[in-house]
Symmetry: C2
Subunit: 401 residues, 2 copies
């Protein structure tokens, strides 16, 4: 077993994390944030522009989903409605009406996705807004300031994300820039916290009440660089450690190769967050390698394009074979959509261009992802994770998609 890198001693108490059960590398634990406790491994629905698309907050809170933490995109919220609006509301929680935990990304990944529209310098990234075409500048300092104004419970450092197929030299340059930006992020973040800029500050028993900050390990598919990036990041010291730059166009096998090598070297007493990943198989496979937190647009985005995730694999609701099918999307699902509606009805809604198709498919998909994580947690605690994983993965092939 690899020896994990020791984190810098920090006196922050913005977050508490405790691993309560472990089986192989898989961990079940509790992440205590200033807005409540979160059982890990956890899946975070993506609420890009201050909304998990098509889903009411009441549904996120319902026992069907019971999402304890959702993600907001700094890039999107910064451009629209803009920070002044959210500040005026008293932070993102109050602006959107959500009292549970929020994690915000740094905006780095969205800027990366813009491709040719951006210009990266040592100082930061210049790009054109997709909303109004205006020229904008994002840097570690700006990102920290925006995230403090949003008042998310967990902020992310501003990083650069190299393409999945980047060569060693390009990746190394990018990784070193990320390390320098991480240091600047940490410094700006600490300044902002001590200045009281955090719009989400809340008295929380046993915690400082301020935001937490996670570092991000980059290095693309190059394991030697991943190890260096991990060391650079842990040396700065954060409340949690993320693995970025995966699911960005690299070979499918790279994900697990990187996790196999890097996850066991990550500090054991801190939460590990795999950013932007992935399919249900990816999630369960990553848990087996020691990951605690996930976010991904798949359940929401694919719900809007008619794809359901089920315990028997993917199901395309547009398919004419469902025209008269009275069965629910997933016969082993207990969500409100599966309890009430047939594939035939959902197909009709989708083919008619009805908004309710997106609403219902997204709800089911989120229920499936969140329920999968519940199953993962229970099985780790009861010592049955390998069996759970084997059966779960076996069933996924049943639809043949």
């Amino acid at each position: 077993m690899a020896t994990s890198v020791s984190p810098r001693e920090t006196d922050t108490s913005a977050l508490r994390f405790k691993v309560e059960a472990q089986q192989g590398e898989a961990r079940a634990g509790v992440l205590t944030t200033r807005r409540g406790q979160i059982q890990t491994p956890v899946f975070m629905p993506v609420g890009t522009a201050g909304t998990v698309k098509g889903i009411r907050f009441e549904a996120l809170e319902s026992s069907d989903l019971d999402a304890r933490i959702i993600l907001g995109n700094t890039y999107h919220l910064w451009l629209r409605p803009g920070i002044e609006v959210i500040k005026s509301a008293g932070g993102l929680h109050r602006f959107i009406g959500w009292n549970r935990a929020l994690l915000t990304d740094s905006g780095g990944f969205q800027v990366f996705s813009l491709g040719a529209l951006r210009k990266i310098t040592e100082e930061g990234t210049e790009f054109r807004s997709h909303v109004d075409g205006s020229l904008r500048f994002l840097s570690p300092e700006v990102s920290m300031e925006v995230q403090a104004a949003l008042g998310s419970d967990i902020s992310m450092v501003f990083d650069e994300c190299a393409p999945g197929e980047a060569g060693h030299e390009e990746t190394e340059r990018s990784m070193n820039l990320t390390a320098r930006w991480a240091k600047r992020s940490r410094e700006a973040f600490d300044r902002l916290q001590s200045d009281g800029a955090d719009a989400g500050y809340i008295e929380a028993e046993g915690l400082s009440g301020t935001q937490a900050l996670f570092g991000i390990v980059q290095g693309s598919s190059h394991l030697d660089l991943r190890r260096i990036s991990l060391e650079q990041t842990v040396n700065i010291g954060f409340d949690g450690y993320a693995i970025g730059g995966l699911s960005v166009g690299e070979e499918k096998s790279v994900l697990f190769e990187v996790l196999d090598d890097i996850a066991p070297r990550m500090p054991k007493e801190f939460p590990r967050y795999l950013m932007g990943v992935g399919t249900p198989e990816d999630l369960v496979g990553a848990v087996a390698r020691g990951v605690d937190m996930f976010d991904c647009v798949l359940p929401t985005r694919n719900g809007r394009t008619g794809q359901a995730f089920t315990s028997s694999g993917k199901l395309n609701i547009k398919n004419s074979q469902w025209t008269n099918d009275a069965r629910p999307l997933d016969e082993s699902c207990r969500c409100s959509v599966c309890k009430r509606h047939s594939r035939a009805y959902l197909r009709h809604l989708y083919m008619s261009g009805e908004m309710l198709a997106s609403v219902l498919l997204t709800h089911h998909n989120l229920a499936f992802f969140l329920d999968t994580m519940r199953g993962v947690r229970q099985s780790i605690r009861s010592g049955d994770f390998p069996k759970f994983r084997r059966e779960f993965t076996g069933r996924l092939g049943a639809n043949g998609e």
Copy 2:
């Protein structure tokens, strides 16, 4: 006071209606359908293609809305998904997952709305499907067959709807055609019921368990023709009587002129349904003239285009004055949207093209319409309807829109 036309003695017991309180012409009563009791006056949300757009059935059933009956459009459902699909599911209730009452229109109004694309003969109406361009034919017999297959609890006769500005001669011709079609509708309906074609048949205590059928009074703005149409319709004999052909382009004043003249002549012991009307003021004004049932797309359609109905009048969520407004859409509304979300947030969602904007505005608008009807009912029962109406109408002007 006008003497009401006496209905033919019928032995149907598909529906029971009882006026329990009356103040002036305004009536509060109970409509008993095979799928439960409905307090009147009642507003029916429109569920065009088997869905009240953007609203989950759980929301319709919640105490926020508590819709006891919704409307389905025969035209839309007939064209897509088609009757075979709905029959195969066991009727519309089972197809969409809704166990409360359903009313279906006859398809006549949608065909009327197609304008130039239709051809009307004595036999029926030929038109091209907006879904696939195919040539279709709708007649009283076809409409009754389709509505029986849908298994709605209340069916409507197949009528012709003259334009709001139609002259006396054109309206008379159209009205007489409607009368002949009403008779054919009644005969086809009775045959289908005795053949057991009703897909929604359900054992119901004290009722026959079959569908009910409503007649429709036409005659445009011509009061002499309206009176003849009423007599023609009542002579055939139905379970309820609707007023059609209003809100179709005529002067605003025509609505109340027609109701003032016609409503008091309608059979007192049967429910009176004003089709496709209207704004909150229209509804309350029509109740004051003796109407019991309403349907209208305004709360749902306008919700999708950013218009909220509030107790202070209409509110356009796109307006920049709401950018930082922390107030709910309607400060006197107790719906889940107003309890949780600000105008600033709803504006942000709308401006960002987020589906949740439509979902939340529609929910609030339906809550406002349904809550208005609750207020109407309570005030009639407590003898305070004139006061309710005066205060309600007075407040509506507050927003100045």
